[in-house]
């Protein structure tokens, strides 16, 4: 793991989150000091159970928190060597960092193609290159080309997820914050989506920060992982190392080693581990 850390240091950092604290409604402390970094060209996974703070972390980065009465009260977020936590979401999109929200959030009454075109809203480089990128997105997601004229609200969950990712791609991002792409999708589709993410990463050079509950698949595609528990990072490391980690296996992958423990024991063990961490 030490070697891995060294290797990461040498790779250029695209996104750096330093010890941020997020408070909702001025009282609810959700993130209690989260730090993480995403290297240029990397896929980094942010793992954890429901309510651990994954979505909040992503929204803090993309500056969508403000609309939900949340604010970053401590720490800093640096994207591409620039402090970004005071920017508006559209400024950040213009700088190349875009979020694909949990639950797809396609524009239901717009057609698939119109949805994709809204992704190019911040671009000022002319219709020709937008058209080129539209074709690129259709090449990655052939299924979207077939459904280009149907209203997004009537397409399937998988198609909507593709539409949401494609829409983000249309802004020509250097980084996509992808929130729970596997949510509510059949395992086969989840696999398909992750394959495309991998392809986008390799061919288009897009970096990903990936919030997932599906630890198993996320760790197969990510290079590095962070595990978030009640607003704190409790563990991080190379994806391969995390996959072998006994605690990760026990709590997240569901392949406990030594015999079956009772749930009570697991809880106790987990609590003890958290204190140690």
């Amino acid at each position: 793991m030490a070697d891995a850390a060294k290797a990461l240091d040498t790779a250029e950092t695209l996104l750096q989150v330093n010890n941020i604290e997020v408070i909702y409604n001025h009282v609810i402390l959700v993130l209690k000091g989260v730090s993480l970094s995403v290297p240029k060209g990397g896929i980094t996974a942010l793992l954890g159970a429901n309510g651990a703070g994954k979505t909040t972390t992503l929204k803090a980065i993309s500056n969508l928190l403000h609309g939900e009465r949340g604010e970053v009260t401590k720490g800093s977020i640096v994207f591409n060597n620039e402090t970004v936590h005071n920017l508006s979401p559209n400024d950040l999109v213009r700088r190349g960092c875009i979020q694909v929200m949990e639950g797809r959030h396609c524009f239901g009454h717009l057609t698939i193609e119109e949805n994709l075109l809204t992704g190019a809203f911040t671009r000022r480089d002319g219709n020709a290159s937008v058209k080129r990128d539209l074709d690129m997105v259709y090449d990655y997601f052939p299924r979207l080309r077939e459904r280009r004229n149907s209203q997004a609200g009537y397409t399937s969950g998988g198609e909507q997820q593709m539409c949401a990712i494609g829409r983000a791609l249309m802004s020509r991002p250097s980084m996509i914050l992808l929130d729970e792409p596997s949510m509510g999708l059949a395992p086969q589709l989840v696999e398909e989506i992750f394959e495309i993410v991998k392809k986008l990463n390799e061919e288009e050079g897009v970096s990903f920060l990936l919030a997932e509950q599906n630890t198993n698949i996320a760790l197969r595609y990510a290079k590095y992982g962070y595990i978030l528990e009640s607003g704190r990072i409790v563990l991080d490391g190379e994806a391969s190392a995390l996959r072998e980690n006994a605690d990760v296996k026990e709590f997240y992958l569901g392949v406990g080693g030594e015999g079956r423990r009772s749930f009570r024991e697991v809880k106790h063990y987990k609590r003890r581990k958290r204190w140690l961490a």
């Binding site: 993309s62 969508l64 403000h66 609309g67 939900e68 508006s88 979401p89 559209n90 950040l92 999109v93 213009r94 875009i98 979020q99 694909v100 929200m101 959030h105 396609c106 524009f107 239901g108 009454h109 717009l110 119109e114 949805n115 075109l117 809204t118 992704g119 809203f121 911040t122 209203q151 609200g153 009537y154 829409r167 983000a168 802004s171």
Partner: protein
């Protein structure tokens, strides 16, 4: 043709014309609703305010004259000049855009991602504010508005239709107000322009995206705040057009703001999200209430015109809540 049949045609035409006038108001609602999911309670008052401002500018009224006179003991009312209609309209447009900008700054900005009902309440507040503000600024007396649109019955049409009647019958031609014809033409142009804008331009697409999902729109880099200023400016523009037409027809006074009430059944009929729907809905309501008055009215003692539209709206709510042309309410399970 028999005089009865000609009378029927006249009623239909006049119904269509008054329907266009309803549609003009309904359009403003549809625009804001489509683009931000807000039902803008203040649309009628905005039309009143636009008309007041237009008259004020045109006749060179001093804004807040009563207030100034009360405080400083002066006796000023008019600047002493009169502006040409085109200049006054342009000036009013500037005022409406400024108003949209201020409203966004002071109110909407703080309501990003709130429930539609909360935004709706904000527009109720806006309606009351604007009503009082308009009075304070321009005075509450009844004013006449004349921007040079001809009005009154068309003698040409009367003469033409007179010849249609059967020989020797007691028929003197149809009455059509020229103003209504102008209103119809303007409404058609407005609808075509607005539909093209919302369907085929990048800003129009962004408006529709914002209407569907505020947060997702933000996440792809659409700035809610500039979109809202645009939407409210356009709504202000449509309010101005409605204000001009209604103001020319029936004078500029407080009751002008009540035309919003007539727009409600039009919206329910045509669908809250459809620009063509606002027009068709208006036409149906206009013709429907005139014909109902003519044929059903005598059976129940008359005055059907006042409530007929609301009954139609009620029936529609029961059987087709999205209206004739409204976007289907998409529900996935």
């Amino acid at each position: 043709m028999s005089p009865e049949f000609l009378y029927f045609i006249e009623t239909v035409i006049n119904g269509l014309m008054s329907g266009v006038m309803y549609s003009l108001v309904a359009l403003g609602f549809v625009l804001i609703f489509k683009a931000s999911g807000i039902f803008n309670f203040a649309q009628g008052v905005m039309a009143l305010f636009a008309a007041l401002t237009l008259v004020g500018l045109q006749t060179g009224q001093v804004p807040f004259a009563h207030l100034i006179n009360a405080i400083f003991g002066t006796e000023i009312h008019h600047f002493g000049w009169e502006l040409p209609a085109a200049v006054a309209i342009a000036g009013t447009l500037v005022v409406m855009v400024a108003f949209a900008w201020i409203f966004e700054k002071l109110v909407l900005k703080h309501l990003v991602n709130q429930e539609p009902i909360i935004l709706f309440m904000a527009t109720i507040g806006l309606a009351y504010f604007l009503e009082g503000f308009g009075d304070l600024m321009w005075g509450s007396d009844v004013k006449t508005l004349n921007v040079g649109i001809p009005s009154g019955g068309s003698f040409w049409w009367e003469d033409v239709t007179k010849t249609w009647a059967a020989e020797g019958s007691d028929y003197f031609g149809m009455y059509i107000d020229v103003l209504d014809v102008y209103a119809a033409v303007i409404a058609v142009i407005l609808v075509i322009a607005l539909t093209a804008f919302s369907q085929y331009t990048r800003t129009g697409r962004a408006l529709r995206a914002v209407a569907d999902d505020h947060q997702a729109a933000q996440s792809v880099g659409i700035s809610l705040r500039s979109i809202w200023v645009i939407v409210w400016s356009i709504a202000g523009f449509v309010a101005l057009v409605a204000g001009i037409m209604w103001g020319s027809k029936s004078g500029v006074q407080f009751s002008l703001s009540l035309i919003a009430l007539k727009a409600l059944p039009v919206l329910i009929l045509g669908g809250f999200t459809s620009i063509p729907g606002a027009i068709i809905g208006g036409l149906i309501i206009g013709v429907g209430e005139k014909l109902a008055e003519l044929y059903i009215g005598p059976l129940v003692g008359g005055a059907i015109e006042n409530w007929f539209a609301y009954v139609v709206a009620l029936v529609f709510l029961l059987f087709r809540p999205q209206g004739l042309f409204g976007e289907k309410i998409i529900e996935r399970v």
